[in-house]
Symmetry: C2
Subunit: 497 residues, 2 copies
């Protein structure tokens, strides 16, 4: 019992949150595995232990029960509790194992090659190193989200929801939500699809992951925009795909480079509505060329329409998907930007003949997204709240962009050159000649403001040094205040002489 007491004290010190019965259990188990309590040894009565350790007898009995259930102890009716000796091999082995484990294990910790690729995939440039939201890209105006309305709608939906919605839902998503999305995309984005082709996923990232797994095998090549969205590159690397960078010209991804850079690319990833990060809108002729390329090469087009809701001037161009007569396009959209990121709902529009494969892949990964949130969102859209929210955010973001551009033109015109962008959540600001965007961004970051260097999104292209400034996540006051701060920072930049 001495060891038991010592061990118990040690483990109590180690973790005060562990229940007492558990500590007793562990002390006895360790003593058995360590060989301090030999096979056949009779244990003191629970009454004795409880007095000795000043704990309740029930606690000791609980510990004994578990040790008996696990085969460490046995009871012989009328004579008490003993360390098991009916399973000597077990205990011998357990003991051997227990001692061996204490020595440094020599075995290797081999993980997959694909997991190394996952680690290599680039992160947002130093985004975690400052708390400030100015001028992070892709951040929604969570201060402007109609949270009260959302909560009321959510609670109402939960209360009137039939209990059967607690069961597994449709793997492809909640049908009323899929219908609402098909109608929305058809009328506002020129997407041509039946509700059946809409699959609900947890966001555009899962959409890309699924598409890559379904469409391409490890080692296959996919064309991506350079500079381009890091999440796409990451999704490709994480599924073993070889991303082949293609430069951007004034009409979008440069199709003349396709065959030069890859003889057998199986897919191309594009952001035609508003290229990330350059903001280029893909021309009609380029769209048609890409669809033709895909059909000619039996390849696929992944269209990521990540921020298409935020169009401030003119009507947005119809989606590539709507021009495609050969069912070559997988269209990806998300609610993260227009509603709020932590909702984790997005969607895929897939050709009819691929629905079953996508469904099977979903069933083997996440099954489906939260049913409650899908129900609440369907209602939010059907009640018209979604469209009015989009309209409202469009107005707010247009004002924030104008505010940012005015502030830059007033305060920073010796360092940055900007022009209006008709869409999106950030602007690209060309940097003073001779300045390196990465070095400037690092210096700015050290001083508490986030600006992303465009070169961070480049793979092999070298384009004009610029900074991305996100304007959607902060108020106009914050924008103005931080531009003034940025001015001081840039004035103190070592290369500013």
């Amino acid at each position: 019992m001495l060891e038991l007491k010592i061990f118990l004290n040690q483990s109590t010190k180690r973790n005060r949150k562990t229940p007492i019965y558990k500590q007793v259990y562990e002390a006895i188990r360790t003593a058995i595995l360590d060989g301090q309590l030999k096979a056949g040894t009779k244990l003191p009565s629970t009454r004795f232990i409880s007095k000795d350790l000043k704990i309740s007898r029930n606690t000791v009995m609980n510990a004994f029960d578990q040790l008996i259930a696990e085969g460490y102890l046995i009871t012989r009716s009328g004579s008490g509790t003993f360390v098991a000796n009916q399973l000597p091999d077990d205990l011998l082995e357990a003991r051997k194992f227990f001692h061996r484990a204490k020595s440094k294990s020599e075995s290797l910790r081999i993980t997959s090659k694909r997991s190394e690729l996952v680690l290599q995939s680039p992160d947002a440039f130093g985004s975690d190193s400052v708390k400030a939201r100015a001028f992070k890209t892709g951040f929604s105006a969570i201060d402007e989200f109609p949270l009260e309305l959302w909560i009321r709608n959510f609670s109402k939906c939960m209360r009137k929801m039939p209990r059967v919605n607690l069961d597994y839902g449709n793997t492809k998503g909640y049908m009323p939500l899929r219908r609402a999305i098909a109608a929305y995309l058809g009328s506002l984005r020129g997407v041509r699809c039946a509700a059946e082709q809409v699959l609900i996923v947890s966001g555009s990232q899962q959409g890309m992951d699924l598409a890559m797994r379904i469409l391409l095998d490890e080692g296959d090549e996919a064309l991506i925009e350079d500079p381009g969205y890091l999440g796409a590159r990451g999704a490709f690397l994480g599924t073993g795909i070889n991303p082949v960078p293609i430069p951007i010209d004034s009409e979008g991804i440069d199709i003349n480079e396709f065959d030069k850079r890859s003889k057998n690319a199986r897919a191309v990833y594009v952001t035609p509505s508003h290229q990330f990060p350059t903001g280029v809108v893909m021309s009609l002729s380029r769209r048609l060329e890409i669809l033709e390329w895909a059909d000619r090469n039996s390849a696929w087009v992944i269209e990521d329409d990540y921020d298409s809701e935020f169009r401030y001037d003119g009507r947005p161009l119809a989606a590539l998907q709507g021009l495609d007569n050969n069912n070559r396009v997988i269209y990806i959209g998300t609610f993260s930007k227009i509603l709020f990121p932590s909702i984790r709902l997005g969607y895929l529009i897939v050709p009819q003949d691929l629905i079953e494969k996508f469904e099977s892949a979903l069933a083997l990964t996440t099954a489906h997204s939260s049913q409650f949130e899908q129900i609440a969102l369907a209602e939010f859209i059907n009640q018209g709240h979604f469209s009015s929210h989009i309209r409202r955010m469009r107005g707010i973001y247009a004002k924030r962009q104008k505010c940012l551009i005015d502030a830059i033109n007033t305060e920073l015109n010796e360092f940055l050159e900007v022009k209006k962008d008709n869409a999106g959540m950030h602007i690209v600001a060309w940097l003073k000649k001779g300045w390196n965007d990465r070095k400037v961004a690092e210096f700015v970051l050290e001083n508490g403001i986030y600006v992303a260097p465009i070169s961070h999104y480049c793979i092999s292209e070298k384009i004009r040094d610029s900074l991305l400034l996100g304007y959607t996540g902060i108020s106009q006051t914050e924008i103005e205040r931080n531009i003034v701060r940025l001015k001081t920072i840039l004035q103190n930049y070592p290369e500013n002489n």
Copy 2:
């Protein structure tokens, strides 16, 4: 204008839900792409079209705006709107494309080899073919879930939640939830982990998918239980892993077969608490042998503790993870069974040195699970509702199991032989000698009751013909009623003479 009118009428017939402006837009676009409206052609005024088609002029203007934005039409100030001729190549190409697309596309629709594996992965045996819940396996008692309490708690959490929770959350999960899970698993399941090692996923299925991707490469071998859980086999197939079936003996997966069947397996998948579907509880010595095997072979152990909460007699054995001193175990749990399936929350406990890789892989797939649900669940656990719910369900399920066994013994003893199971959500009923479980199950299914043949879960093993009967998803009354129905069905089974 004639074609426009005809086309408009056609498209109106095609889809009455398409907004009128959209129909006008599509009619004009098609006419241009088809060559019916030539480059440079002047269009009638919007006023004229609106009168001619009896639609509002605003509608026509909307259609024109979009066509102008997309480059199909151009306006010349003072002289009207024309089919664009500044981009003759575009239109030429578009037209070529448009016609070509109408002919049957000869290109191939090549998807990945891994997507074929996804399709091959076996589904639950005909589960969708009957609506009846009797006697489906793994179905929770959604009628007994405290939905009112859940909704109250959920609404309260949403209302008091700081707005910052609308932003992207921690990829690894909401910290208070991870802490609550670590505490729960530590005290009730013998899992030894820090909250940092807990990763929130959308369910055990995503846990397996991630683990396979991180730990193994395509073509690697993993040992699985035979018979075993279909979702695990599917997750392995879907990530390109070769599952190697290993038989089950009275102590669990038969470790003596490991080296005989695979020389270089990189992982083993086990359900030690309650083997699915046989119900075998893995012995202590087998647990230790498996841990030692993993360490000796630098391999990993995937421990799926899918229904560990449902233990009706005796204390559950501690998890394998808690015995492991070499950090070789990835422990997977889920809230689907104990709460409700559509919540889509589960967890992984991973060794310290793998946290970063799992986090990166999560970031590139689903990012994280719904933040609202994580917050609500953390509160539900911390308020003690979770433990009382477990206790309550344990009582209900124990009664349902007893009810099922009594009913079978009373009504079906000429066909089925059953015994009590101390855990789980279903029982295994041995079938009358000479009867084939799959044939019986198919016959029963045709008559509106679901019973799964155990052979459906077998890969290469042949074990005694039996049926799985789930009892958790239906009330005692339903159990009794359906056993009486089952008796009639089996009496009419053609081989019953």
